[in-house]
């Protein structure tokens, strides 16, 4: 269970995340939406340790992980993907996935074997020995997802993992997310594709100008006047 209390992050005079509370249960899929600059990526950067927060607390299963280092938080079971994908370009698909495992297991051979299993789960197995630099952006994003999933973390944060995907590819990613949730992995998704995020999320959190302006079921959020005004617009049809 991930618990955020009064999390605030400032960049000089700009309050990028303002007093945000959040509770995520095991296996829950939480959609994080909001206009550009709302603080979505900053918030997940705070959770994953890339940004140190100015006030508030972040707890994972009652353990305080506030302002701990990125690798510590990652090893506690919070893994993430990046808005601009960051696969290891020189490394092959298997090596990329094995990188997701080395902090837990030092045996390279075992990690490579496990990586093969994960590659198969993510439909990457016919490209096992291809360098990441030779993959399409969408495949690289899936590879990043596989790398994050490899250790079977408690929480996976997906930052616009579906951007640029075709409808077919979006459906594939949604299937993967559902499978993760069924394995008790909590998923936080930042996404601008409303059709996808509204259909898969059990809970939606809306940020605007760093503040949480709404939280609830997708059906409640799509009818919330504040959310409509700040982000969705009048014409949204889910």
């Amino acid at each position: 269970m991930l618990e955020l209390k009064n999390v605030t992050k400032r960049f000089g005079g700009l309050v990028a995340v303002n007093n945000v509370d959040l509770l995520i249960k095991p296996g829950e899929i939480v959609g994080l939406i909001g206009p550009n600059g709302a603080g979505k990526t900053t918030l997940v950067n705070c959770i994953s340790g890339f940004h140190k927060i100015d006030s508030g607390t972040i707890k994972l299963n009652e353990n305080d992980i506030t302002n701990k280092s990125v690798d510590f938080i990652s090893n506690q079971g919070i893994r993430r993907t990046f808005q601009i994908e960051k696969s290891f370009k020189e490394l092959t698909v298997l090596e990329n996935i094995a990188c997701g495992l080395i902090s837990k297991n030092k045996h390279l051979k075992e990690n490579m074997d496990k990586a093969k299993e994960v590659a198969e789960l993510f439909g990457l197995n016919n490209q096992n020995n291809v360098s990441a630099k030779n993959l399409t952006i969408q495949t690289r994003k899936r590879l990043e997802l596989a790398r994050a999933y490899a250790i079977h973390p408690r929480i996976i944060i997906l930052d616009e993992v579906m951007a640029g995907c075709t409808d077919y590819e979006i459906d594939e990613v949604l299937e993967i997310i559902k499978r993760m949730a069924s394995e008790s992995i909590s998923v936080i998704i930042i996404e601008h594709i409303m059709k996808a995020i509204m259909s898969i999320s059990e809970k939606i959190v809306v940020l605007n100008e760093g503040k949480k302006i709404a939280e609830g079921l997708p059906s409640e959020i799509s009818n919330n006047p504040r959310v409509i005004e700040a982000y969705l617009g009048e014409e949204l049809v889910v």
Binding site: S48, F50, S69, V70, D71, S74, N75, R79, R80, F82, K86, S87, F88, K89, E90, L91, T92, E95, A98, C99, G100, I102, S103, K104, K106, H107, L108, N111, M112, N126, Q127, N129, V130, S131, N134, L135, E144, R147, A148, I151
Partner: protein
């Protein structure tokens, strides 16, 4: 990255046998050049650990080269410690200094790290000049001449130096290959590709980079000690100059980073070129050897930017099936 076991590698075993036989076939000046190739090859393998495998461009390897060189000389001249033990003292001392410096400079990324390593080399050079009681200052230190002394590793013929260097070279090659084929090597590869992503998969950047920096320092120190033993004379300008750091870097770049044979091949190409350009162009005009050397380097960078060893490996490698 192809996983391999160096002890089962036929090329390596052939190299080992041929390498041991070299002093039976070449003598005099040619053997001296072979020793210089080994010496600079070792230093380049050291640089390759942090800058090739780890992707952290260091311009301060001369500092560790100097620590190795001065440790041997000071241990023998001031305390009468045999040179072989002096080499080990140099290695340990380099590891400690690398740990201390690494705690500061490895927090930095990219050009900031590079500039700091450059400064480390220059600071040490200044210190070596300043503490003249120990280091001989700008004049440097020289071994008093003794005939065939195992204690100070002085011989009137060259093959003992060759074998001492060859053992060090084998240690450097094995270290580099083991790193490349280990989990540690994969961590370094991840850091080299993307620090943020590496951290996000739980890799401790400081710990991993520090280990690489220390191993690099230890290998470079070994080459510095070997230099001091072979040359019998060291001074701050020669063993701790910026030029030396660049030379080490160039050898690894020209040969091929992160490859088993690259640094040695780089030394085997650049050292003879230096010798030949000095021999043939040195008397015509000062600076001409450097000009010829530079032109050759430009061609290498243009036509073999990934290192000369990769031209061979691409030509002879089995095609790897890449299904896209």
């Amino acid at each position: 990255m192809i996983r391999e076991n160096i002890l089962k590698d036929r090329t390596f075993l052939i190299f080992l046998i041929l390498g041991l036989m070299v002093p039976f076939f070449i003598k005099g000046y040619a053997l001296k050049v072979a020793i210089m190739i080994i010496l600079w090859g070792i230093a380049a393998y050291g640089w390759d650990v942090i800058s090739g495998h780890g992707g952290q461009l260091s311009l301060g390897q001369a500092a560790f080269f100097a620590i190795g060189a001065y440790s041997v000389n000071i241990a023998y001249l001031s305390f009468g410690i045999p040179s072989l033990i002096g080499i080990i003292i140099g290695i340990v001392f380099s590891a400690i200094i690398a740990l201390a410096i690494g705690l500061v400079v490895l927090r930095l990324r990219g050009p900031y790290f590079t500039l700091c390593t450059l400064a480390v080399g220059e600071i040490l050079r200044t210190l070596l000049i300043y503490f003249k009681g120990f280091t001989g200052g700008a004049v440097g230190l020289s071994f008093p001449y003794q005939e065939h002394s195992f204690i100070s590793m002085q011989y009137t013929y060259d093959y003992p130096y060759y074998y001492l260097g060859f053992v060090m070279l084998i240690i450097a090659i094995i270290t580099s290959t083991v790193i490349k084929n280990s989990s540690f090597g994969l961590k370094l590869a991840a850091i080299r590709n993307d620090c943020d992503a590496a951290e996000s998969v739980g890799i401790n950047l400081m710990m991993t980079k520090s280990k690489a920096f220390i191993i690099a320092a230890m290998i470079t120190s070994m080459s510095g000690s070997f230099y001091a033993i072979f040359m019998n004379y060291i001074d701050p300008g020669t063993v701790c100059g910026f030029g030396l750091s660049v030379q080490i870097l160039l050898i690894a770049l020209v040969g091929g980073r992160r490859t088993k044979w690259g640094p040695l091949l780089g030394a085997a190409i650049l050292i003879p070129i230096t010798e030949l350009t000095n021999a043939y162009f040195g008397h015509i005009r000062s600076g001409l050897p450097m000009l010829v050397y530079s032109i050759i380097l430009i061609f290498v960078v243009l036509y073999a930017s990934e290192g000369i060893v990769n031209i061979f490996s691409k030509r002879f490698a089995k095609p790897i099936k890449e299904e896209i």
